[in-house]
């Protein structure tokens, strides 16, 4: 497998993950390029979400889950004993499949992270963070008149952008997205995709998606997983026009048994 030359923000090597006696990931080596979007694709159960969750130690809370191998963020092992996991998750944020706003106002959804991390010294600084985050998430103009309305009163697509605004409010370096558009209609999906393209200016993005056209549209690098192994990783264009591995070709062309 020809791995592209990458200026890596995150570097993973020899990663094995077990759920009890079952091995979910086998010896995965991969790099996430800084300020680029990397897509993880593969059939259900191939390990792509497990892999994504290793990147900010979301697997820690799953009972019986064991992780071995190296996951480096800026060259530092995120599984090191003395590492503060809360701090890690502030640097590596996450957006989930279903929009999950807090049962709070739109404003408080975004302000929550900066408050608990103490990122604002006063109310006007906090206002500024909230406004910037909502603007970056391309939601500000739609909610500026109703900041105190509950986050759950927004449409599904708006809720997802609210969750993205919440994730970026604490200025993470990496954003992990697990099927961020699977619950959205095509227009909301297009808005989120446009947003992802803009966000890569400031963040390193990893996205799990079942929608291959989406992976092809939004990412610069694509990794194909199958049965817990990383089958192929390369430039998105090469993966979708002329993949090296037969299994990749069979999957992306819809020939999988």
């Amino acid at each position: 497998m020809a791995t592209p030359a990458i200026d890596a923000k995150m570097e993973i090597s020899g990663l094995d993950v077990f759920y009890g006696a079952n091995q979910a990931l086998f010896d995965v080596d991969m790099k996430f390029a800084e300020n680029r979007v990397s897509a993880l694709i593969g059939p259900s159960g191939c390990g792509k979400s497990t892999f994504l969750r290793c990147l900010n130690r979301m697997n820690d809370i799953i009972e019986g889950c064991r992780v071995s191998g190296d996951v480096l963020l800026d060259g530092n092992d995120i599984y090191a004993g003395d590492l503060d996991v809360v701090q890690l998750r502030a640097r590596v944020g996450m957006v989930f499949q279903k929009p999950n706003p807090f049962p709070k106002s739109i404003y408080d959804n975004v302000a929550y992270g900066p408050r608990i991390h103490g990122l604002a010294d006063n109310a006007s600084e906090l206002d500024e963070i909230v406004e910037n985050s909502l603007r970056k998430a391309a939601l500000y103009d739609e909610v500026v008149d109703r900041m105190s309305a509950p986050g759950t009163s927004l449409s599904g697509g708006q809720q997802q952008r609210l969750c993205i605004a919440r994730a970026i409010a604490i200025s993470p370096e990496v954003i992990l997205m697990d099927e961020p558009c699977s619950a959205l209609d095509p227009i909301a999906t297009a808005k989120v995709e446009e947003l992802i393209d803009e966000l890569k200016e400031d963040f390193t993005i990893a996205i799990v998606t079942h929608n291959m056209q989406q992976a092809a549209r939004v990412s610069q690098y694509t990794a194909f997983f199958h049965l817990g192994k990383l089958v192929e990783f390369g430039d998105t264009e090469a993966i979708f026009t002329n993949p090296e591995e037969k299994r990749t070709q069979d999957y992306i062309t819809g020939r999988f048994g």
């Binding site: 056209q213 026009t241 002329n242 993949p243 070709q249 069979d250 062309t253 819809g254 020939r255």
Partner: protein
């Protein structure tokens, strides 16, 4: 290649390749008939070949339609995408070959009205090679065989060489007797048309190579037609400056 999970996708791809193969068979026959009309001095057959161009054009539109449908409904990837775009290009090459065959037939009709010319004899030999190229390149398309496509690609040099020597011969005839100019010009255009058909067959070969390998053919094909550099048959060298 294993089948797609969605069976109707395979059916649509097969329909498209089937249309290309039918088109290929038709233009192959069109060329063979045009040459027969020339040799047998048969204006009726020539007229039929000209008419045969319409169904070929119709099939080209059918390929266009099938390709657009596949692109819109299936969002093809990788080898499927290459097959579909390749088929679109191949159909337009085949359509051009059909046009050239019709033009050969028109000139065959005109030539049947005048005295027979000796150089006519070279034309069927040239045409047989091109007919073989069209047949083989379609076999290569059906079998997704890049090697066989490459063999077609290389054979085009032979066609160019025959064309060069015929060009020289016809110029000599025209200089001998100005009354030869009209029939010889027709023959020259016929030969040029067949030479162009060979070029379209090599285009198709290149397309197939890309379809199979995913990378464009970077080897430069030796360009054999040296006649653009010619000023007089007397100073025409055996091999022109562009020859390999």
């Amino acid at each position: 290649m294993p089948e797609h999970t969605v069976k109707s996708y395979d059916e649509e791809l097969n329909q498209m390749t089937g249309t290309i193969l039918r088109m290929g068979g038709m233009v192959e026959q069109q060329l063979a008939d045009a040459i027969t009309a020339l040799i047998k001095r048969d204006p009726e057959l020539a007229a039929r070949v000209i008419e045969d161009d319409k169904p070929v054009d119709k099939l080209e539109h059918e390929v266009d339609h099938q390709v657009m449908r596949l692109l819109a409904l299936r969002q093809p990837m990788a080898v499927d995408l290459r097959l579909i775009t390749a088929s679109l290009k191949i159909s337009s090459d085949l359509e051009r070959i059909g046009d050239y065959a019709a033009n050969v037939a028109k000139r065959a009709g005109a030539l049947s009205q005048v005295e027979p010319m000796r150089p006519v004899a070279v034309i069927p030999r040239m045409s047989l090679i091109v007919q073989g190229m069209i047949k083989d390149v379609l076999d290569a398309y059906m079998a997704r065989d890049a090697e066989r496509a490459l063999a077609v690609w290389r054979r085009d040099e032979e066609v160019d060489e025959i064309y060069n020597s015929l060009f020289r011969e016809l110029l000599t005839y025209m200089m001998e007797d100005p009354r030869h100019i009209t029939p010889c010009t027709h023959l020259l255009f016929i030969a040029k048309n067949i030479e162009r058909m060979g070029d379209h067959a090599t285009n198709i070969a290149e397309t197939i190579s890309f379809l199979v390998t995913g990378t464009p053919l970077d080897e430069a094909r030796p360009k054999g037609d040296t006649t653009p550099f010619t000023t007089s048959p007397l100073d025409l060298p055996d091999k022109g400056p562009g020859a390999a």
